[in-house]
């Protein structure tokens, strides 16, 4: 303790390799942490693939649920997930981007805007089951939507809205000021500037946020069960008012069955959900790259 007094250590004589030892240690630590995270993911993927790959087949993708695990398929859940997430995006994008544009470009920066900002950030952390209860009371009962695709999509749209607003605002904030000023200098109005300069420049960031939000929504079970999404639906959703089920609910149901064959179905279902998620991400990346290239 005592011999560690500053006078005992003449700092200038520390050789460079010692001076960088902290750097190297932190780098090593970071690598270790990353490998650990990746290993957990790899173990999960390996486990799921080993259990589920044998069940993945065209028959599995195109069949309806059944009490016999070998005959059961995922079609209504897959169609339900795609349909519900699609409508969710249709609702959440205009509302979320619109709200973000207003807050970022039009709203006067004052106490009120800070209050709104804090509240939106808080909403992003509300447990999803709460949105489910809200959806049940508001959309299913008061608005009379029933246990429909539309009610499910509206509920999920509410759930993702805070994330969409926050990421869109950040993307808008990242647009360089010079771009706006150049547009104004050419005589463009505020809306023309937003429409032709700011939004296209912010698009990559907006899309990233949207995909993150929708990726959360596609894995949600609790709010959809609360609003009355079903488990056994032997037909495809054929409209906004149709009853529906989604992948996570079907997977959850199979996991909790006593027969081991249903556990394999659940693993195969998880693989389908993963592929759907990756496909969504891929579409977003392609669209984002196209816009990014155009913007340059």
């Amino acid at each position: 303790m005592t011999d560690a007094s500053p006078a005992a250590v003449p700092t200038p004589v520390r050789p460079p390799f010692l001076r960088h030892s902290g750097d190297r240690l932190l780098g090593l630590f970071g690598l270790l942490v990353m490998l650990l995270a990746l290993a957990a993911l790899a173990a999960l993927l390996f486990d799921i693939t080993r259990d589920g790959i044998g069940r993945l087949s065209w028959q599995f993708l195109t069949s309806y649920p059944s009490r016999r695990a070998a005959e059961a398929g995922i079609l209504p859940a897959l169609a339900g997930s795609v349909y519900v997430i699609g409508i969710t995006a249709l609702i959440a994008v205009p509302l979320g981007v619109g709200a973000a544009v207003y807050l970022e470009e039009y709203e006067a920066q004052g106490r009120l805007s800070r209050l709104i900002e804090i509240n939106i950030a808080n909403l992003a952390g509300v447990p999803s089951i709460i949105y489910g209860l809200l959806g049940l009371g508001l959309f299913v009962r008061i608005f009379g939507m029933g246990r429909s695709v539309l009610a499910g999509s509206c509920t999920l749209a509410l759930l993702v809205l805070p994330t969409v607003i926050i990421s869109t605002r950040e993307a808008l904030r990242a647009v360089p000021k010079s771009l706006r000023e150049g547009s104004y200098a050419l005589g463009a109005t505020k809306w023309q500037t937003i429409q032709h300069q700011v939004l296209p420049a912010a698009l990559p960031g907006v899309l990233t946020g949207l995909i993150l939000a929708l990726s959360r929504a596609i894995g949600e079970t609790a709010p959809l069960i609360t609003i009355g999404a079903l488990t056994y639906v032997p037909f495809l959703p054929d409209g906004l008012w149709s009853p529906f089920t989604v992948l996570p609910i079907q997977i959850f149901n199979w996991v909790s069955r006593p027969q081991a064959a249903f556990a394999e179905n659940a693993a195969a279902g998880i693989l389908v959900l993963l592929v759907l998620l990756l496909a969504m991400n891929a579409v977003a990346i392609v669209v984002r790259d196209r816009f990014q290239r155009r913007a340059q």
Binding site: V206, G228, Y232, L236, S242, N253
Partner: protein, 358 residues
Amino acid sequence: MSQTHRTRAGWAPHAGWTRSLPGTAGVLVWTMVVAACGGGQTPGAAGGPAGDTVIRIDGSSTVFPVTEAVAEEFQKANPGARVTVGISGTGGGFQKFCRDEIDLADASRPISASEKDACQATGVDYIELPVAYDGLAVVVNPKNSWAASMTVAELKKLWEPAAQGKVMRWNQIRDGWPDREIHLFGPGVDSGTFDYFTEAIMGKADESRGDYTSSEDDNVIVQGISGDEFALGYFGFAYYEENAGKLKLVPVDDGNEANGAGPILPSPETVKNGSYAPLSRPIFVYPKVKALDRPEVRSFVDFYLTQGVPLVREVGYIPLSDREYELVRGRFTAKQVGSMYQGTESHSSVSLEQRLAQ
């Protein structure tokens, strides 16, 4: 340079407008996805608005496998029929049922007093139809050589709230059992299995110690017990049957000689004849009387009580006796409204057949 170019393009009517609005672009992509999905529907799914022809069922996840199997076969026999089944839980199902939102409620326990009131308030009349038995299995690890049977009193001593933090070793339950720590596994408090076990053993629903490993997924409990020599737990009989090699059943003695003397092992026979008491229970469907005016609902319930019977065993549950099914069908055809149970009264004291015959 490229900036100016883009701005100029933007001023052209229409073309630039859609391109420069990111929201619109996202919307377009998703419209295509949704359109593609909407185009892939089956011909049978087309036709009038959903609410009219769909038979809507919701409720207990315990009853779900039976109802799913019946719905599957019913639709094979009646192409074009549309049956949907949800798993909101028995309570959630009755809530929707009494709000007149569904046609049938699946229930792993009889309708409660407050649910009766709720149904009465909205004028929803129902018929109570037991459709199968579900047994609860008390299980230990196969290496457990001592727990050859347990009495209801011993189970109560082990699981009652007062045991929390106190009854921790096997030899505290019965002298002569090893002086080793006991590891308890059971369903979570939201499950109907938990409700029923606590009611049957403690005499009051939801009375239980809390210091045990709980899971809403019975498969997790199976895994826990199969890997631990000093474990004990309970769950639905179907889960035991699927994992019989990894577990050992504990016969239960209810001290009542009238329904079979001594400890009784759960099996389809002992559950059905009522000797495996008190851990066997009937499970129910509750059709809404008003919905029975619709021919498809009437024929579905009829199918459930006739062609549905062989499916019960197939999905892991235990069918009622032939005599009991006959009585249940009688209830249905006579449209006998209301419940056989007086609120929360324990339904293990009187046999189902006696009740049905009343």
